[in-house]
Symmetry: C2
Subunit: 201 residues, 2 copies
């Protein structure tokens, strides 16, 4: 995979620095069950409020279940379909809005599901796989197609696969895959002591 | 730190397997700015919808800002205060409910903030630090004390510090720190093709 490490003021863990969301998937390189299971295990062990584990994930594997994959793909926005068409696996992340312990509203459902999802992405990085999460999909359509009950909220469709070798990435996609990753300066999002007081390095 | 690796059906990345939420902090071992900054950098480089980076974090360092730390501590539930009293640093994670790009509602604000928060936790694991996220705190009080505007939602208060050496952990806390970590079986939260169809290993 193309290396695009985060530009940080200090060194951070290599796995975290190396994860990024590419778009150029290799359509000819499938992802086996043996490669998918560690991704799910990584998500499974994420932390959650009261240990409630409010996340659910549905895996769509084009090789084993073309109809399922096609249905998942049909939920994506047109802009995402252009590149996600080459991802051999799609995974839908879903948040359970109610605590399983008492049926009350879980205000950390989405927060914890996001934690599980990025754990999956980091594990993928460890395996040389690429994951790109997409908010651009029709959640209502996904709910209907896959029978997702009302108390659960479809959050993101994740494209999973291997990156296309660089010499096969062309045109605009190539430019985008090679462009620098961008983040706000640290002081924009991180404060000390009170709101708006930029964290001083 | 006590090692309590996740029990997984297959090997996963060591960092992800090793992260867990302890409670026995060493009150005599501060965390320096040099140790805090990589935690923030890890959060900063998390993925987000449209790259919006909806997370905000406020750091409260007891050594440098006792009033700020005391205020943050005062927001915690009594149950959490019992053990978090020994954490030298508290960090509040906050989600921006509106996209900065267009001011519209961002339905991935909490999801992405959860991703940034767990990235911080994983980086802490890498540094031998322990982070425990708490939902049990008074978000309204935090909003008032720290001047958090309405469009932002306080999500979790995170205790950050070094673990107390095992020989100094006593009684019930010791039992809890040494108990096994638990998760649902994989098939409970992970499906294939459609809702409720357990992922088969």
């Amino acid at each position: 995979m193309i290396e695009k490490k985060a530009t940080t003021s200090v060194n951070i863990n290599d796995l975290i620095a190396s994860r990024w969301s590419g778009r150029a998937y290799d359509p000819d390189r499938p992802v086996s069950k043996e490669e998918i299971i560690p991704l799910l295990e990584a998500a499974r062990w994420a932390p959650s409020c009261y240990g409630d584990q409010p996340w659910r994930f549905i895996v769509f594997d084009r090789r084993n279940d073309k109809t399922g994959w096609d249905n998942a793909f049909s939920c994506l926005s047109e802009g995402n379909q252009v590149w996600a068409v080459n991802a051999p696996v799609l995974i839908l992340s879903i948040a359970d809005t109610l605590f399983s312990r008492n049926g009350k509203s879980n205000r950390w459902a989405q927060y914890d599901t996001g934690a599980a999802a990025v754990s999956l992405c980091l594990q993928a990085t460890d395996q040389g796989l690429m994951v790109h999460q997409m908010g651009g999909f029709n959640a209502d359509r996904a709910r209907e197609l896959f029978g997702i009950p009302d108390q659960y909220i479809p959050m993101a469709m994740m494209a999973v696969g291997y990156q296309l070798p660089l010499d096969r990435i062309k045109g605009e996609t190539r430019e985008r895959e090679l462009s620098d990753r961008q983040r706000h300066p640290l002081a924009h999002n991180f404060f000390e002591g009170r709101w708006g007081n930029a964290y001083k390095i």
